[in-house]
Subunit: 330 residues, 2 copies
């Protein structure tokens, strides 16, 4: 369809607009900041065939586009509150898709206490391409960075690693140990690929106890490389401690390596100083988020993360998901 932007705004997006948006009738929006707070901003783009499958349900596409941003905010300790939306639509995208997309966005912004501040809808040669810039609030100067980790800090990860990658493999009918799982477990993995669960509930525990944190979006190993490099450290991970989805705990090393270097986890990787570990565990338990101690930071920057299986290095044929058009993650 040709993009009649005004009609799309009227029908689908105005109901999502909140404070500062001027009901999407102006050229720009206003971001007020309560005294003592700063705004944290993050931006993520997702495209059909790369970050989601062209036939994924439109509401889950919207949720994924929003949640990958929410996940970044949560990792920084920030409370999400607003976002702007850039939407590039191909000719094949119809009103039904748009209605479902807006519905998914509407449900999700409610879940995360966010509102739409503004946006732009354009035609593109091949879509959809969705660009979201999301805003969170933090007490001034309190952002949890990737840097800040120290040698001796424990490394924790939330939830499970590899569920999204296994879900994508199922959607693409790639053979693997996931095929042997019961249908319900397979559906959960697919759901984890399509609709990440950003760990917003963990953000205040990070603010209080973490020396460094980031969200795991491009593969645990590569992301751990980034956190430790930013902190001037190197990292040691014990593969046996990494929480994997039910039924995928005993996979072979090739599959294990794949799950640890695939994208779409949207879990939190955090460095916790030893004196803070008990507090962090208690706060995470109170928040209802499972966290696992998977390793630690060591002195000496410039080295890649060592991933050990029973004391031996796990062979890794890559460190992280690499973006390539026409090739979805994992």
């Amino acid at each position: 369809m040709a993009v009649d932007e005004l009609s799309i705004i009227d029908r689908f997006f105005r109901p999502l607009a909140g404070e500062g948006s001027f009901a999407l009738t102006d050229d720009a929006a206003s971001l007020g900041v309560p005294a003592g707070f700063e705004i944290v901003v993050t931006t993520d783009m997702v495209a059909a065939g790369v970050h989601f499958l062209a036939n994924d349900p439109a509401d889950s596409v919207a949720q994924k586009a929003l949640r990958v941003n929410v996940s970044d905010l949560a990792a920084k300790g920030a409370k999400p509150f607003a976002y702007v939306l850039g939407l590039g639509l191909g000719d094949e995208t119809g009103e039904q898709w748009l209605a479902a997309f807006a519905d998914g966005l509407g449900r999700d912004q409610k879940t995360h206490s966010m509102s739409l501040l503004g946006g732009d809808t354009i035609s593109v040669a091949a879509g959809p391409v969705i660009s979201i810039t999301a805003f969170g609030l933090l007490p001034v100067g309190r952002m949890v960075h990737r840097f800040g980790g120290r040698p001796g800090d424990a490394l924790y990860v939330s939830g499970e690693i590899g569920a999204g990658a296994a879900g994508l493999a199922l959607l693409k009918s790639e053979a693997g140990p996931w095929d042997a799982l019961p249908e319900k477990a397979r559906n959960i993995l697919v759901r984890r690929y399509r609709v990440p669960e950003p760990r917003v509930a963990l953000s205040s525990a990070l603010l209080e106890f973490a020396s460094a944190a980031m969200d795991v979006s491009d593969g645990l190993v590569g992301d751990c490389d980034k956190l430790s490099a930013a902190s001037g450290c190197s990292a040691l991970i014990e593969a046996g401690r990494i929480p994997l989805p039910d039924g995928l705990g005993m996979v072979d090393e090739r599959i294990l390596a794949r799950l640890l270097t695939a994208g779409d986890d949207y879990e939190i990787l955090a460095a916790i100083p030893p004196r803070n570990e008990a507090g962090f565990r208690a706060a995470a338990a109170k928040a209802g988020v499972a966290v696992s101690r998977i390793g630690s930071l060591r002195a000496g920057g410039g080295k890649r993360t060592d991933v050990l299986v029973e004391g031996r290095p796990l062979p890794l044929y890559r460190r992280a998901y690499m973006h390539r058009s026409g090739e979805t993650r994992s």
Copy 2:
């Protein structure tokens, strides 16, 4: 090329990063707000084949992507200071394009005193698709809106209308009165299409004197419809008062209608109360921006703008540019 995001950041975008960006090494950026100010945010996406031509120089593509956002901020009276960049690249986009794109962005952010806060680079099936969210500062509560115009307010427009549309027609070899212009004048029109000149210098005059304003990006007539509707008024424009590019002042009515309803002007349309007109003109002159009084707001909302030529309505076959993939503006 496949997108190696880390290498692209290192080579091309880190040099553009400024305060609050943490050198693009974190998941999110920090937006501090000086006391007494609020942040104004706008987002615009541009795509090859729609907002720019696939063979346009990469540096001008970057400049256009940034400037369409700067134009929105200027129209609201805000001073631009930062932006985030979403970049969707097709396989055909190489390093040379990226280097020129980053160069254009770097020159332009310097011109506009902005810095890069963060970004995301992804692969898309057909690119480039560029999404920029830009931030400006305003004294709290002082944003110049589309609403706020009153019956009797004069309508002013900055610069010239139709230069971008004529430039695009030249690039697409569409016959018209622009063909008869000397080469230098034709080059200026092409340049106006590729690289808009946002009227940042006018923003403090707008803050002080305008009751309403917006940037003209989708055609003067349709944008005037929007400003007057938001203000609960209708508008009267005298076509003879609209500043057109040199040599296009005597065009026939069909061409005139096209120039007044095409995109890519990035001029400012402002409503100025009669008591403020002298002040506004003086402030614009001091800022070095030509402004022309083209009409006025009248009582009665819900009506479209009347465009008169010597007292008769100008026949308009459309009101505004409509986005359609594969069909560039104008």
